[in-house]
């Protein structure tokens, strides 16, 4: 019985908790991508950089608050700087729409041209970030690092395995729940949210019913800005901020959005968790887990790892390809691209 509990703790500690927090970050990112896709109808390659930009502004203001000795006690100061980052990201989104994307929308350009344009935007934001903050890895989480340390847990329960709970993980999960609830409430219950759904479903019909497209697009960018900034900051808080990482993060985010069914907000969230869990589960070495569960005669000799961790990144894409082959519209019927 103890062994069974130990094995469960191993799973919790190395798969479930990291999976949920990484999945939440992906889900928020994918939700942003899916919003742009559903309303503006293009694949936004700049999304990773928008996330990075939000995180950068948050970091700058975190430093500012720290220098002024303003803090939140046990909570990271970044939470205090987050609203500033969100506002800056929204402004960035709206500026990039006004000066770049709007023109192509009015021209009714094909989606692939808009995707190219978003690559240009990606380069520009990427350069701005590097010019402002450089390319170094930045750790900006302060306050209490652990809610529960592995050692504490061991003492508390008397088990062999410890369960560590980082505060950044708990913050990620709480903020994600809050933000997702708000987003879905907004989409389902408010008039603006309903008009956005109508616009996404059938543009012509929405226009005929008197929905103002500019207003819908404006709201969309606000939501995208909030989601992107929060996702970027949470990722940075959890794993440390590094500008280069965010370009690599774009691909798992796209994979999440597509696997869940692109254009479907709920699908994006589910897709995020699917991608995160499969990345972690496929590359985790289960040896410890089986050592607890199986009798010692059956103990595995190897690491019992399906793929080495080097392939973490490839996993999300293999899933994307498999989903494309079996069910091109994603888990929750999005648009067939």
């Amino acid at each position: 019985m103890i062994d069974f509990l130990n094995s469960i703790i191993v799973l919790l500690n190395f798969i479930i908790i990291p999976g949920i927090s990484y999945g939440s970050q992906l889900a928020l990112g994918a939700l942003g991508v899916t919003f742009v896709y559903a309303i503006l109808r293009f694949a936004n390659f700049a999304h990773g950089e928008i996330m990075s930009f939000g995180a950068m502004i948050t970091i700058l203001f975190t430093w500012f608050f720290q220098s002024q000795n303003i803090g939140l006690g046990i909570l990271p100061t970044a939470l205090l700087a987050l609203p500033v980052g969100i506002i800056a990201t929204i402004i960035l989104c709206i500026i990039s729409d006004k000066f770049v994307f709007q023109y192509y929308r009015y021209q009714k350009s094909v989606p692939v041209v808009l995707a190219m344009v978003s690559i240009g935007v990606m380069f520009v934001i990427n350069a701005i970030i590097r010019i402002i903050i450089g390319t170094e890895t930045i750790k900006f989480s302060d306050g209490q690092k652990f809610i529960m340390k592995a050692k504490q847990f061991k003492v508390m329960t008397g088990l062999n395995e410890g369960l560590a709970l980082k505060s950044s993980q708990v913050i990620t999960i709480l903020i994600t729940i809050l933000l997702l609830t708000f987003t879905f409430w907004f989409l389902q219950k408010t008039k603006t949210g309903k008009s956005m759904r109508a616009f996404s479903d059938n543009e012509d019909l929405a226009l005929l019913s008197g929905i103002n497209p500019d207003r819908v697009v404006f709201t969309t960018w606000i939501i995208v800005g909030v989601l992107a900034c929060v996702a970027g900051t949470l990722y940075g808080l959890d794993k440390s901020y590094k500008p280069i990482i965010y370009l690599n993060l774009v691909l798992p985010i796209f994979a999440s959005a597509i696997v869940g069914g692109i254009g479907s907000p709920f699908g994006a969230v589910v897709g995020g968790y699917v991608i995160a869990f499969s990345e972690i589960m496929v590359t985790y070495a289960y040896k410890k887990f089986f050592v607890y569960l199986l009798p010692s005669s059956l103990e595995p000799s190897g690491l019992v790892q399906l793929l080495s961790t080097d392939y973490k990144f490839a996993v999300s894409f293999s899933i994307l390809v498999i989903v494309l082959l079996i069910r091109p519209s994603g888990i929750f019927k999005g648009r067939v691209l």
Binding site: A43, V113, M116, V121, R130, G134, L320, P328
Partner: protein, 457 residues
């Protein structure tokens, strides 16, 4: 054969004069280094341009195909390592044979079992256990190979052939990968296809990065043989010394002192050998570029090229006319990828080393796409022009930025924090330039600098 318009001649003149300009300002060695990379970039751009410009098939997997070309350079030119073969060849052979069996089994199931649910269950079971068995042999074999002299070897090595053959092999490797990708993904809409090809190219690169038995992974392969002479050999070759003496005879004759003259001659020989090597590369690359350019144009003007344009402009109509759109898409995707693969092998040949971790999407996929868009999709000369201009500005962006920053902050003290910070971040301004160039071109000249010629026939 095609005739150039006046503005096209202008473009060619601009390209050539840029290099002459750099040659005089920064030295001929710098100019030739940039020229070599420009030619390789131009070939990559032509590869992408063939699939995107001719047929509208998007290919964001440039990085992966380049890496396949690079792998070919290693596998063709590196001498074989006998010990490694002894250590692991059998295990690898077994696991490969088992893989073939597995694939056949899956295909057989797909054919025989009709009910969807049973098919999925059977397939996943077979794949799961098959992979477990294959992994056993495979991991043993690769482990043995990687243990052979890991400091300098630890991989299978190559065939030990002249590296120039790899340019063709690289094309074939890339074509092979492209065929598989095309089979899987070409039915998708274009922006979706972009994401998928981008992802698969990442997978290709991560395989090369981590399968050390094949490519030595992140430990890199260095010291690949060159197709051109080495500087040190040239410096000791009589004919080369005579050539340098002859070319600089007037300058040398002015120096009366014998030891001074010898000193000057030695310096000239050292400089000259570097330039000679780069020039030989440039000539080799130029030949490849012109061959590809010739055939690409020929193909574009042929009935096949016309069919491709028809498919690009109206897929449904082309389909109704009895053209096999899916097959043609696959063909042109593979051809484009093959050309990119050739460029990838040339890139590794030029560097003399293979560094899988150096393949990054920003540098090797998106920049190439900027070249295509800026140059003019659907026009081969435009592709070459785009490759030249963008690579040129990519390299020259740093000196230019330093100059601009110094001009703008001329009033500030040299120790001013802002000025120092800006000068520190000079390398990042090139991304800003690239982004702005792309956005401006897409806005004001969406067909590129040298647009495709509309043919009415």
């Amino acid at each position: 054969m095609m005739k150039f318009e006046r503005y096209e001649w202008l473009a060619i003149t601009i390209m050539i004069s840029l290099f002459i300009f750099v040659g005089f300002i920064q030295g001929w060695s710098v100019s030739l280094v940039i020229l070599n990379m420009c030619i390789i970039s131009a070939i990559m751009t032509m590869g992408v341009n063939i699939s995107w410009g001719y047929a509208g098939v998007i290919n964001f997997g440039v990085m992966g195909f380049l890496a396949m070309g690079g792998l070919a350079a290693v596998l063709v030119s590196y001498p074989p390592i006998a010990e490694s073969w002894q250590a692991g060849a059998r295990g690898l052979g077994i696991s490969f044979a088992l893989l073939v069996v597995l694939v056949i089994a899956v295909m057989y199931i797909n054919k025989k079992v009709i009910q969807n649910r049973n098919r999925y269950i059977l397939n996943s079971l077979i794949i799961f256990f098959g992979i477990l068995i294959i992994r056993h042999f495979y991991l043993n074999a690769t482990h043995n190979i990687e243990d052979v002299n890991p400091a300098i070897a630890g991989f299978l090595g190559g065939l030990g052939l002249p590296i120039i053959f790899s340019w063709i092999v690289g094309g074939l490797f890339a074509a092979g990968v492209a065929f598989v990708i095309g089979k899987v993904a070409l039915g998708l809409r274009s922006d979706y296809l972009a994401i998928v090809t981008l992802g698969i190219s990442e997978i290709v690169v991560s395989v090369l990065k981590h399968e050390e038995w094949l490519s030595r992974g992140v430990k890199n392969v260095i010291g690949l043989k060159r197709p051109v002479p080495y500087e040190i050999d040239l410096q000791n070759a009589d004919w080369f010394i005579n050539l340098v003496t002859y070319l600089n005879s007037s300058k040398l004759n002015n120096i009366i002192d014998v030891s001074d003259r010898q000193q000057v001659l030695n310096n000239l020989i050292i400089d000259g050998s570097g330039i000679f090597v780069k020039l030989s590369y440039a000539i080799l690359f130029l030949i490849v570029m012109l061959i590809i350019f010739y055939f690409a144009n020929k193909a574009q003007l042929s009935p096949w090229g016309r069919m491709m344009r028809a498919i690009r402009d109206n897929e449904t109509a082309a389909n109704a006319m009895g053209k096999d759109v899916v097959k043609q898409h696959l063909i042109i995707f593979v051809i484009g990828a093959a050309i990119v693969g050739v460029a990838g092998a040339m890139l590794v040949t030029l560097d003399g080393l293979f560094t899988p971790s150096g393949y990054r999407p920003l540098r090797f996929t998106f920049i190439i796409w900027i070249m295509v868009i800026v140059g003019g999709s659907g026009n081969n000369l435009g592709a070459i022009f785009g490759g030249f201009v963008i690579w040129f500005s990519w390299i020259e962006a740093a000196p230019l930025t330093t100059f601009i920053i110094n001009q703008l902050t001329v009033g500030l003290e040299p120790t001013n924090a802002l000025k120092l910070h800006l000068l520190d971040s000079v390398p990042y301004f090139r991304y800003l330039f690239m982004g702005l160039i792309l956005l401006l071109i897409l806005r004001y000249r969406p067909k590129g600098i040298i647009p495709e010629k509309v043919r009415h026939s």
